[in-house]
């Protein structure tokens, strides 16, 4: 049996996109192959490493485990949606400053998991950061610099809130 492509509408980083794909195609593959958003990476392909993390209607998901039909009409945020114009997201700045990225494969997923964490918990403890990123595996830097980056981003965000910036 073969499944014909169907039209699926997605709201990717705030923009409406329509793709024509088999409904079982993984959201990860639709992002990378059909929408050319290659910031989202494939690591394990089985929901353990978090490299493919994106946000679907605000919630962190592994895009390798989402058949695209289930994302129909959903708001999807990928790493490409974090920076606003040329202005990097505080987490991206903090990862750069703290050396939180080395080979880069895990970084987009780390950033997406960390944005979720900081949105729900603007001042996480180290233990909360560790849990927030527990589904994202890094095999280069070790995790210390990544945790430092999240701590620094939290501080950057709270100081910009204190100064009245969004």
């Amino acid at each position: 049996m073969t499944a014909s492509p169907i039209k699926i509408q997605l709201l990717i980083n705030g923009q409406s996109e329509i793709v024509s794909v088999p409904p079982m195609k993984r959201l990860l593959d639709v992002l990378r192959e059909d929408l050319h958003l290659t910031g989202t990476k494939e690591g394990c392909g089985e929901g353990e490493c978090g490299s493919c993390s994106v946000r679907m209607n605000g919630r962190l998901v592994n895009s390798c485990l989402v058949p695209v039909l289930q994302a129909q009409g959903a708001h999807i945020q990928t790493v490409e949606g974090l920076a606003i114009d040329a202005e990097l997201h505080p987490l991206q700045k903090a990862f750069l400053e703290c050396g939180g990225a080395q080979c880069g494969i895990c970084t987009p997923g780390m950033l997406m998991a960390a944005t979720c964490l900081l949105e729900h918990n603007p001042h996480p403890s180290l233990e909360e950061i560790r849990e927030g990123l527990a589904g994202n595996l890094c095999r280069c830097t070790g995790f210390v610099k990544i945790f430092e980056a999240v701590t620094r981003a939290a501080a950057m965000q709270s100081s910009s809130v204190a100064k009245g910036h969004p």
Binding site: R26, G47, V61, L65, P67
Partner: protein, 295 residues
């Protein structure tokens, strides 16, 4: 070999009735899929053989957590992320909250559903031991109507259950009478997070004047399905806690569990760790003054 998206027909049920009609019209032809944390892994590995899948993800009829004075009902489509952050579940059924926090990481918890964890039927699944010691009932639905059975009767063997081909899980119901019970759940895996269970033990118990007035024990990865440990429960019920009783219970449990050797652990290790976990629970139950070890 990697799965091919084009080799599966895949539709989204418009609503619960639509899903039930399709299952009724072609029993056994459709594989229901919710959060995909199991089936999409099989798909990626080229192991998903189901030619036709029907998505239940997001069906509003299955997305509820409701309570009455007597019970708490959790809809089949509720995710472990929802369970983890539910105040009443946390207050009265903390073992379920804890089990939910062990199911993969946050991204998995945001997708994995309670019914998916149950229907997938892994003997190592995290939620079942907690559900078993809370005496949960499971409610099934088809076009023929709804039926409720004790969750303890749901699993029939390795990855086999009582669901008819036209049926879906509708909800789990937990009686609200465990607030005063001592409650225990411990999972032993290769590491603290993101690990599949080598062995897990859950327990609820109520002491009455020093004797065990009520006790329920359940375990994961010690049989072909999640199980209540009825023989060990029967031995403990009505008895007074002591070191001797704990040793008897330990012997009983060692004979009652039937684990296997597999990639994650050995039967012998599982049997002994399960007994150790029981001992830990019983020690916690024992009032501090009654500990012979400290006397």
């Amino acid at each position: 070999m990697r799965g091919n998206a084009e080799s599966h027909e895949f539709i989204r049920a418009a609503d619960l009735l639509d899903a039930l009609r399709r299952l009724n019209d072609a029993p056994g032809a459709w594989t229901p899929i919710a959060g995909g944390t199991e089936l999409m892994v099989a798909h990626a590995a080229g192991r998903l053989t189901s030619p036709r899948l029907i998505s239940l993800w997001g069906l509003p009829e299955l997305q509820f957590i409701e309570s009455t004075d007597e019970s708490l009902s959790i809809g089949a489509g509720i995710t472990f992320g929802d369970i983890r952050h539910h105040a009443l579940i946390h207050a009265e059924f903390p073992l379920l909250t804890r089990a939910a926090s062990w199911i993969g990481a946050i991204a998995n918890q945001n997708r994995a559903t309670l019914a998916g964890n149950i229907v997938n039927g892994s003997p190592a699944a995290d939620a079942p031991p907690a559900l078993l010691v809370y005496d949960a009932e499971i409610e099934l639905v088809s076009l023929r109507g709804k039926r409720k059975i004790p969750y303890a009767d749901f699993h029939l063997g390795y990855k086999r259950n009582v669901l008819a081909p036209d049926e879906l899980v509708f909800a789990l119901h937990l009686p609200r009478r465990f607030q005063k019970h001592a409650q225990y759940l411990r999972k032993v895996g290769a590491r603290r997070a993101m690990a599949i269970t080598k062995v897990a033990l859950a327990g609820t118990a109520l002491l009455k004047e020093g004797t065990i007035g009520e006790i329920r024990l359940a375990a994961a990865s010690v049989a072909d399905r999640p199980v209540r440990l009825l023989a060990t429960e029967a031995l403990l019920l009505g008895s007074t806690l002591s070191r001797e009783l704990r040793n008897l219970a330990r012997e009983c449990l060692l004979h009652e569990v039937k684990p296997i050797d597999d990639i994650r652990s050995s039967a012998d290790y599982r049997r002994h760790v399960a007994a150790n976990l029981l001992d830990e629970f019983l020690l916690q139950l024992q009032p501090a003054t009654a500990h012979e070890e400290t006397a």
